[in-house]
């Protein structure tokens, strides 16, 4: 272990460290107790590079701590990167945003895609495919802000990867829309599937309309109408027919009218006062007709 001057260490743009996390807690700890666990450094082209402890050294530099006791290892850049991953995966884990940065770093450091897949599997225990890796790299390059959004869990990786199905000029506006309406992971997926339907069918030619929405429910409705115009018409007609029923009746239909089962519910709390409407059968048969035969094309 050696005492090293902090200004001799390359802190600004570390070559192997991947870290998007907040530093507040660590900062308070260092100011109170000092650096308890020594950072690990290695030499690269004569310069002292950080293998582990970037956050500690960054805080040290910001608070003008001049000297820090560090371990200095003799290893290559690629070895240092693998060591950094192994240490941190156990210690703090990586967010999905950081994972994308790690994949990018693998390629930047000259690992082949297959090597990156194998090493990541060994280190993290997570099985990934080469296609997955390529999709992540593409996401990083085409939507750079994605890493921060993934890291802050404003979107998840499954939904983020779905963005790649859309034309390039759609991806960022979709992403900012999902963040703006605070869509959950499930809502994001459902919304993207609707949008995909509209893209392929030609029902949605551009996504300008999304700018007008800050509410998820309304934007869903509009997107559904554009991507599933026929089914939306059927559902409208069904709604109109259902209005003929007293308000205590509630008919549940499967999404997109795609399943076979429909369910008629009656509000049991008011069952004593409830009269079965005489036209119930007639209305149900109208609905059945709409479900099976639809409306005119």
């Amino acid at each position: 272990m050696e005492e090293v001057r902090v200004d001799e260490i390359r802190v600004a743009e570390p070559l192997v460290v991947v870290h998007l996390g907040a530093l507040d807690f660590l900062e308070r700890s260092i100011l109170n107790f000092g650096i308890l666990s020594p950072p690990i450094l290695f030499k690269n082209n004569g310069e002292l590079e950080i293998l582990d402890g970037w956050a500690r050294l960054k805080i040290a530099r910001e608070h003008s701590i001049e000297r820090v006791r560090c371990h200095i290892l003799g290893c290559s850049l690629r070895e240092a990167f693998i060591f950094h991953l192994s240490l941190n995966i156990k210690w703090r884990g990586f967010s999905e945003g950081e994972k994308i940065l790690i994949f990018k770093r693998f390629i930047k450091l000259g690992f082949r895609e297959e090597e990156a897949v194998n090493i990541w599997e060994k280190i993290s225990g997570e099985r990934i495919s080469r296609d997955f890796l390529i999709e992540c790299l593409k996401l990083h390059d085409e939507v750079p802000e994605i890493t921060a959004l993934l890291h802050s869990e404003k979107i998840n990786l499954t939904a983020a990867k779905e963005l790649l199905k859309f034309p390039e000029n759609w991806r960022r506006p979709i992403l900012s829309f999902l963040v703006r309406v605070k869509a959950s992971a499930g809502d994001s997926m459902r919304f993207l599937k609707l949008l995909e339907d509209g893209l392929y069918s030609g029902g949605i030619e551009n996504i300008e309309y999304l700018k007008n929405f800050s509410d998820l429910k309304q934007s869903f409705k509009k997107t559904f109408e554009l991507s599933h115009p026929y089914t939306a018409r059927c559902l409208e007609e069904i709604d109109r027919t259902l209005k003929e029923l007293p308000p205590h009746f509630d008919l549940r239909l499967p999404e997109y009218l795609s399943g076979n089962n429909a369910e008629l519910r009656i509000n049991f709390n008011i069952l004593e006062d409830l009269k079965i409407p005489e036209n119930l059968n007639e209305i149900l048969s109208k609905i059945r007709k709409l479900v099976v035969k639809g409306v005119d094309l």
Binding site: K193, L199, T231, V292, K293
Partner: protein
């Protein structure tokens, strides 16, 4: 075209939602034509047509399955274009001869090709049916690239029938496109001579990955310009009301015939059965 040995099985179970067991014979795989809706493009890794060299293994496996005597329907044409491949490997003729020994088992040769001259040398069999997949001429010209025209296919059907073989019409996939009513109306008039055997049809089904593949090759593809819903089996289909209208229209175009509808919801078939003069086989 690639010649190679098939190291796996030649016979695979397939599900057309029919009330009997259906098996497909993989005598080759891949197709030289380019039909926009075809699942083969997303199914096989090889882009070329693969013809198998180990005929003997195919025949042995086929004999073994046939001798089980389960009165099943076997298909040629699920993985390939059998009449086209037959020009190179002569397998259709040989497979037909094997079926001669198993009159209870049925073989359907499903094709879009028009070369049927080789059948002159084969004595017709009752358990073999040649079935042509057909689309209306206008849409076929646009989305079935390299395939013999509908007119040529119909000529081949006439020839095959004259030679004494059973022939069938397969509206698979049944498509919705601009002008579909007129297109199907003309088509059904032309093939009315071929309705002794049940007409079989099924509205277009796509897997999400095939839809993506079609879009990536041609974002303006006519077959995509429709609304699709995701069914419980993971396939995309036209909304039920649209499928109902497609089937109902086709049924209205044909005389009292037997019809089979593939992979369709039971209660939709039930509704159609009540209103059509045709008999829908289940």
């Amino acid at each position: 075209m690639i010649y190679k040995e098939n190291k796996g099985s030649f016979i695979h179970r397939v599900n057309y939602g029919l009330p009997f067991e259906t098996l497909a014979i993989e005598e080759a795989n891949g197709c030289p034509f380019y039909c926009e809706y075809c699942f083969l493009k997303s199914y096989f890794s090889e882009r070329d047509v693969v013809l198998y060299t180990n005929k003997k293994s195919l025949f042995e496996e086929l004999e073994r399955r046939l001798s089980e005597g389960k009165k099943r329907r076997f298909y040629l044409g699920e993985y390939s274009e059998p009449l086209w491949a037959n020009r190179f490997n002569g397998l259709v003729s040989e497979i037909i001869e094997i079926f001669r020994g198993y009159p209870e088992e049925e073989l359907e040769v499903r094709t879009k090709f028009n070369d049927v001259d080789f059948l002159k040398d084969i004595r017709p069999l009752k358990n073999i049916i040649f079935a042509w997949s057909l689309l209306p001429e206008d849409i076929s010209e646009r989305i079935e690239k390299g395939v013999p025209s509908v007119e040529e296919r119909i000529k081949a059907m006439v020839k095959t029938k004259e030679m004494g073989f059973r022939i069938g019409v397969r509206l698979e996939p049944l498509l919705l496109y601009k002008g579909w009513e007129d297109g199907y109306s003309k088509l059904m008039k032309k093939v009315s001579f071929a309705l002794d055997e049940p007409l079989e049809m099924g509205a277009l089904r796509l897997t999400p990955s095939l839809r993506r593949l079609i879009y990536s090759k041609n974002p303006e593809s006519e077959i995509l310009k429709n609304e699709f819903i995701l069914s419980k089996d993971g396939k995309l289909r036209y909304p039920r009301g649209i499928r109902f209208r497609l089937y109902n229209y086709i049924l209205s175009l044909i005389p009292k015939s037997r019809v089979r509808i593939y992979m369709e919801e039971e209660f939709l078939i039930e509704t159609l059965t009540k209103i059509t003069r045709c008999s829908i086989i289940r």
